[in-house]
């Protein structure tokens, strides 16, 4: 039924009039922000503390398991879930068992390179002019910077010219092989160098004069952070090796230095005073290190010159020492036996560190390195051209591998392959040996060229496992990229290493 309904009034406001009204009252205004003041400040944390927590799933899980027998009944839907899922899962299992898909397929996650390639040849022009040799190379803890120490062994003895420490940053694109990123002037030849294992800018070096200096490469004004100075505490002979030692306080590191005067000193760094404070001192004296089987003429309190040193990564108390006479000793940092030599004017008493002596070699031991994969194995190499593989538990070497006909200056285990090691020889080549192979020939030979120049030092880059730095007596440092079979572990490698370590030496 149609009906008429009267609604109230409806009003329509005229839009046109409103717009016209607007147009009459227009205002314009401008505004402008005042000049913005800005200041810049840099903030840098001076010390940082890292700490992490993690909740253990253990308790949660065990309580769940504990309630199991009763709870399982009450868990809603568990039964249905399993019933439903059973059939498809069994089907999959059967299919899996019969499937031949991917048989013999080996996945290649990383690209393989077959060749060992020389990436860079780094030189420092001033060092070249002075005919300096590269005495030591060390990678920083981040693996991006290589530090090289120069010095010269002239006719068997060190010369006293001033020398340098140069660092190059391999990672950033603007690498100039002829110009170092940072050059530190040093008054005497540097005989040993070691980068800090945690702090990328710190490094310590030992000098020909017997001093041990710690540099901080991030300080551009004066990189020297601390030095031992020529005090009564410091070495009198050239320092053959320096290494960072983790101290009792977590995170603190000290420096262990050894010199050819038979002294091994442990320093703590006091950055405020700029000095290294002697903490523990060891002296190696002939009569305290010889075992009954060897006899030397002129025994007594004459010092045993140390030519190489290595700290065991497995046991922070143990370190290995090689001497000029071919002696190989295992020493302990906490040894309390007093040394047979009077500790004249030293601030701490001298102690004898030797705990065990291995069968001596026939010439100075130039290099020792403990295996990063097995706590009992270490390599030693010296002037007899052989690399000896020793176990910490036995006096005789497990294996002796002929590396070269001349001296071997440095030997180092690969950080990624338990059975691989590299040796720098006097002929200038770096031989890389693979203990998993039956053959006695090296797995690879790196020959940087330059006849007549010995390769004096080498260092594997632990962060970037394919890189190997080699320093030579012609003053060049070569950075080489190793092929994949030298960096990737083969499947049974750890097992083979165990077998080798458990052999009994003949």
């Amino acid at each position: 039924m149609l009906q008429t309904i009267a609604l109230g009034d409806a009003q329509f406001h005229s839009l046109i009039r409103a717009i016209a009204a607007l147009r009459q009252t227009t205002m314009s205004d401008r505004c402008q922000t005042r000049a913005i003041h800005s200041t810049e400040t840099g903030v840098q944390t001076r010390s940082s503390v890292a700490s992490s927590t993690q909740t253990e799933l253990q308790d949660h899980v065990t309580t769940q398991f504990l309630q199991d027998p009763h709870n399982m009944l009450h868990l809603p839907g568990l039964n249905d879930f399993l019933r439903q899922i059973e059939a498809p899962v069994i089907r999959e299992l059967v299919r899996n068992a019969k499937s031949h898909a991917f048989d013999g397929f080996q996945v290649n996650w990383e690209e393989h390179n077959q060749m060992v390639v020389c990436l860079h040849q780094l030189q420092h022009p001033r060092a070249l002019e002075q005919d300096l040799h590269v005495t030591s190379v060390s990678w920083s803890c981040t693996g991006a910077v290589i530090a090289c120490a120069y010095g010269r062994m002239a006719e068997g003895d060190w010369s006293n010219d001033k020398s340098y420490i140069c660092t190059w940053n391999i990672d950033h694109g603007g690498l100039n092989p002829k110009q170092a990123d940072l050059v530190i002037d040093v008054p005497t030849p540097v005989t040993a160098l070691c980068c800090h294992p945690k702090h990328p800018a710190l490094m310590t070096g030992g000098l020909y004069s017997g001093e041990v200096i710690i540099w901080d490469t991030s300080q551009s004004t004066d990189p020297v952070v601390a030095q031992t100075g020529m005090s009564a505490d410091s070495h009198r002979e050239p320092v053959c090796q320096v290494t960072w030692v983790p101290l009792q306080n977590k995170g603190d590191f000290g420096v262990l230095s050894a010199c050819s005067g038979g002294r091994i000193l442990l320093w703590t760094v006091s950055a405020e005073q700029g000095k290294c404070v002697l903490k523990v001192a060891f002296a190696l004296v002939q009569q305290q290190v010889l075992s009954k089987s060897t006899s030397f003429k002129g025994q007594g309190t004459s010092p045993v010159g140390v030519t190489s040193l290595d700290l065991s990564p497995w046991d922070p108390d143990t370190f290995l020492v090689g001497s000029e006479g071919g002696l190989l000793l295992r020493c302990s940092l906490s040894s309390q036996t007093p040394a047979a030599v009077p500790s004249e004017c030293l601030s701490v008493p001298l102690r004898a560190p030797a705990v065990f002596s291995f069968r001596p070699g026939s010439g100075p031991v130039h290099s020792i390195h403990c295996s990063p994969f097995h706590r009992n194995l270490f390599l030693s190499a010296g002037t007899d051209g052989l690399a000896h593989l020793h176990s910490l538990l036995q006096t005789n070497p497990l294996r002796s591998i002929r590396v070269s006909d001349t001296y071997v200056f440095k030997v180092q285990w690969s950080p990624t392959r338990p059975l691989l090691f590299a040796a720098a020889t006097g002929q200038g080549e770096v031989q890389i040996f693979d203990l998993s192979r039956r053959s006695l020939r090296p797995a690879a030979t790196i020959d940087p060229g330059g006849v007549g120049h010995a390769a004096t030092c080498l260092a594997f880059n632990c962060q970037n496992p394919g890189l190997l730095a080699v320093g030579k007596t012609d003053g060049t440092v070569g950075v080489w990229k190793l092929s994949t079979d030298l960096t990737e572990q083969i499947p049974t490698e750890s097992h083979l290493l165990e077998q080798i370590a458990n052999q009994v030496a003949e």
């Binding site: 253990q58 899980v61 769940q64 027998p69 399982m72 879930f81 059973e86 498809p88 069994i90």
Partner: protein, 100 residues
């Protein structure tokens, strides 16, 4: 509970099954033949992966759904069958020397 056990045993009876884990949606194992820490690890890691796999399948085709996710690794085969509130994880190991 007996039924749950029976079902699981039927599944495990297929030779080459190295272990099973039944976990809830939070990644906490309810019942497992592995030890608790390992089971916890498997369950936690796999529930995220399964959720992602499921959403991938549904993204590609909304009508579709994930039944079983199978991961072939160098040493073993891991199968995960998810559902809304539970997860069944199976680990298979074959005697074949080089299986993928």
């Amino acid at each position: 509970m007996a039924e749950v056990e029976e079902t699981l045993q039927r599944i495990e009876a297929h030779g080459s099954v190295a272990g099973t884990i039944v976990a809830n949606a939070d990644g906490i194992p309810i019942r497992s033949t592995f030890d608790s820490s390992k089971a916890g690890k498997y369950a936690d890691v796999l529930r995220h992966l399964t959720a992602m796999a499921r959403s991938t399948v549904r993204d590609v085709d909304p009508q579709d759904d994930l039944i079983v996710l199978r991961i072939s690794t160098k040493n073993q085969e891991i199968m995960v069958a998810p559902e809304n509130s539970y997860l069944l994880i199976l680990v298979q190991r074959f005697e074949r020397y080089a299986r993928a």
